[in-house]
Symmetry: C2
Subunit: 261 residues, 2 copies
């Protein structure tokens, strides 16, 4: 029953970071090394990291979903971002010992330690494309954080859910975890409520609306984006403009970058 989620043959991390910046063989090696490392498992609702606690080493999620969480009084909680396979936990490029947030597993989660990333960071010259890819990942993350603020502050229930879903699909597909807009979706409606700042009941009704409109199909733990156009429009989602990031002006792909193996 402890069935593992599919991992693309190339390796999750290579897949993800290579898309951000084409990696050379050394860099791929580093990532493969990390993926082979000692793995940790976490059960749902367990904390991978506690706000204010010291961060030991950065981790990557290999399988399962987690979330950055803020807890308020009266059982209120807000998920500030959802972490999916390929996302880093406690990766502070600037050495920052204390976690600014609590990280909680939403499903069973498998992680690997990646202390060499801190090193890779110090040693940009050695792994230039990897460093860059990490930069871009961090930039992308910040962009999504700002998206989330706008979502919670100024969008309606319908818009919030629409924009969050397409953002999620966007992120999953960049890791080859979504095919044709459909993917495994392990969250409960209560999770969704904590993400979107809505009540569970209202999430339920809004989802039904989206289904009735033929925009999504959500059942048996799978979510399919049926009308991407409509959802992008409804949620006013704009993909982060990475184009400019990928090829920084006046900079050519470093070392012997490989486009495809």
């Amino acid at each position: 029953m402890a069935q593992s989620y599919p991992i693309s043959p190339t390796g999750l991390l290579v897949t993800r970071f290579n898309k951000l910046a084409p990696l050379n063989e050394l860099e791929r090696g580093v990532l493969r090394l990390i993926e082979g490392k000692g793995k940790h498992t976490h059960s749902p609702d367990s904390k991978l990291l506690t706000e204010g606690a010291e961060i030991r080493a950065p981790h990557f999620i290999l399988t399962g979903w987690a979330a950055n969480v803020r807890e308020l009084s009266q059982g209120r909680r807000q998920i500030t971002s959802v972490l999916i396979p390929g996302d880093a936990i406690g990766l502070s490029l600037h050495p920052r010992p204390l976690s600014p947030t609590t990280v909680m597993a939403l499903t069973p989660v498998r992680t690997v330690e990646a202390p060499e990333l801190t090193l890779a960071w110090r040693d940009r010259e050695r792994v230039p494309n990897l460093s860059k890819a990490i930069d871009l990942a961090a930039a992308e993350q910040e962009y999504f954080l700002l998206n989330h603020i706008a979502r919670l502050g100024r969008q309606t229930a319908h818009e919030r859910i629409a924009s969050w879903i397409v953002e999620l699909e966007y992120r999953l597909s960049s890791r080859d975890l979504s095919t044709d807009g459909a993917f495994a979706f392990p969250l409960t409606q209560e999770n969704l409520a904590d993400i979107t700042g809505l009540s569970v009941v209202h999430v339920n009704r809004t989802l039904q609306q989206l289904r009735r409109d033929g925009h999504i199909d959500l059942s048996r733990g799978r979510l399919a984006v049926l009308d991407r156009e409509a959802l992008y429009a409804a949620g006013e989602f704009k993909a982060p403009s990475l184009s400019g990031w990928r090829i920084a002006p006046g900079e050519r792909p470093s070392s012997e970058a490989i486009s495809s193996t």
Copy 2:
């Protein structure tokens, strides 16, 4: 009429960063140098930076307030964070050419360029305490961003405004721009609405409530926190736990750090 805001004699940047990590004389020199640089002025509503545009050099705000803004359809806008004197604009520790957000002046704003910060960054050994201070500033900023998400997602109008005000006062006092909880407050209620995700009318009514309760005094461009305890409780505000950050474990204050001049 173009009256400038008060600047502490020591210099805004020194004041601010020295509190985060005690600076040595060289580091103070760097900051003083920056403050003496060619200044830029921006009128209210003008953009200091546009989302997706290339960032040339990092800037610091010396006087005036600005905001990171996301614009949606139908004139909706969400302020993701308010920038006050001493805050950096476009400071990407990780070299990231494109701005993830639009920055807009809320009042007349004066800024200085600070290209040497990027250098200071590369060269951590030379200005260790300054580097650390910048780390902490970035960490603090991220913390406040997460605060804001929780605020918008799970707090009531009353709580949102309370927690935002105390957070603001906390930030201002770390720059010596607040005395006894009172400070110059140049924002309109419409700005406040775009910050808190509320309508202007509701902001107005909530402010009146806070006044009636004797928690704040807001008039003639000054805001006074009358009952900090009550506001902290109402907004569930917790100061970022910098204690652990300031003295990283196994690390002693570098070089000839100066506690006070």
